[in-house]
Amino acid sequence: MKYLKHLFVADCQKYIPGFLFCLIFAYLGMNLDRLISNYHSEGIGWATFLYESAQMNYVAILLLGGILIRNTLPIPKALLPGIAIARPIIKPGIIILGVHYVWADVVRVGSVGLVLTAIFIFGTAVIVMWFCKRWGVSDGLGGIMGAGTGVCGVSAIIATSPVVKANPLEMAYAIGTILLFGTLMLFTMPYIGNSISLSESQFGAWSALAILNTAQLVAAAEWYGTEALNTAVLINVARIMFLPLVVLFALWFYVLRAGNQESAQKINKWHLVRDKFPIFILGFFLFVLLNSMNIESLGGPGVVGSPFWAMNAVYTWCFAIGFAGIGLSISIDDMKKAGGTAFTIGMTASAVKMVLGLIVVLVIGSQLLRVTGV
């Protein structure tokens, strides 16, 4: 019993009510999606409007519904811890999503993604930090906004803030700004993509390059379609691999280059890279490897009744619970914290990445960005 206790997080019972709430909300959202889809197939007008014009699939239902609940109803405090842990459930979903790929996809789309992310992500981080330094923005704010607008939004701010010694006010401004622009992009980009007839793979690449925050990126891509999600996740995996490098760059730019020897000596660079490396992507690549080996007993996402087919169903559930958590976590009060210099940096970086990203995916075309899975 004593050993069994160690398997659980301390106070794990506090997460149960909120998590169950997300689970029920996800179940309702997915069934509402199915209902709208069925009515749409039967040619019912309002369902066709919701399904085709308003693009109301389970992602939109969970996000919009979640935002509506969070910002209009008094959410009991007992639900908040569980809602907060529902968001990272997307991570096991991304690992399982590895069954959608084969190595040929990883090499083709991944290498394009790697080049694009190297330019966009590292480029954004370096340019933002450089401009901030030039314009006298504090090192703390410049460092977290460079990493936040460049790599993966709030996750990057969390990784970078202790390194560049951002103060609480700067962190609040930066997180509020990233959430604000990430959410704006989540709700505008799918409609822009549809209006200019962007293919799913092009949209996936565009969202992976432009959307500031990871949660919103995954949601926007899944909203647009499965092919968009497949491309977005692969490019995003390339993007997240840059996180340790961007943190290391911030360390060099703000601490080592400035000759702050005392701070520099306290930081072990190897530990820094190790701690910031996203180990979960190894799980993703393991599934890609297993899928590429064509092991008969594992089947595939399309082989009904096979282990990989079952995993494919699980990933949708992971995503639905995660999106329920994301929707229920988007608070207008949090976004109101956006402000000051962080707001200007976030707005400029979002606009530039959105426009340049769109131009790049239009030039590259769909073929190079499509995940075939075979």
Partner: protein
């Protein structure tokens, strides 16, 4: 008379502390300063791809602790300069809720807080704590908002 003054360490809050001590010493009032440690930043530690969560949580804790200590030092310094004795209290949680809890326990006749003068977009965007306090605190406590000027 009981006076409660809220401070977050910003310039307008410092002015609020000066005002509270000056009023307290001239009215021989019981003055309590309150600083609320807001754990809002910690709620983001488990973002989907966040790495180095423990380091982040420890860093935020350390920053908030330093900030609280700085507010306490500033308050003590102001009290010593005026030769006035007052109490300093620390609370942890959402600022508005914690201030209201303190008001219900301490029952001050006057609550002094700092506040920025906001117009237009900034007024819409701001959480405007002094306004929420004024709306939520009963008639028994008057709210005084001190600006950030020199």
């Amino acid at each position: 008379m009981k006076i409660l003054v809220c401070s977050d360490g910003e310039r307008h809050s410092k002015n609020a502390i000066k005002k509270a001590i000056s009023l307290g010493s001239s009215l021989s009032a019981d003055v309590t300063a309150l600083h609320v440690v807001d754990p809002w930043l910690k709620t983001f530690y488990n973002e989907i791809y966040s790495q180095g969560r423990q380091q982040y949580l420890e860093y935020v804790d350390q920053c908030l602790k330093e900030q609280a200590e700085q507010v306490r030092r500033g308050f003590d310094k102001e009290c010593i300069a005026k030769g006035f004795h007052a109490t300093f209290k620390l609370r942890h949680g959402e600022p508005l809720a914690e201030i209201l809890k303190e008001v219900s326990q301490f029952c001050p006749q006057l609550l002094i807080t700092g506040g920025k003068y906001l117009t237009g977009w900034k007024k819409f965007k701001s959480k405007n704590l002094p306004l929420h306090l004024t709306n939520k605190i009963g008639e028994a406590t008057k709210v005084m908002v001190v600006g950030g000027g020199p």
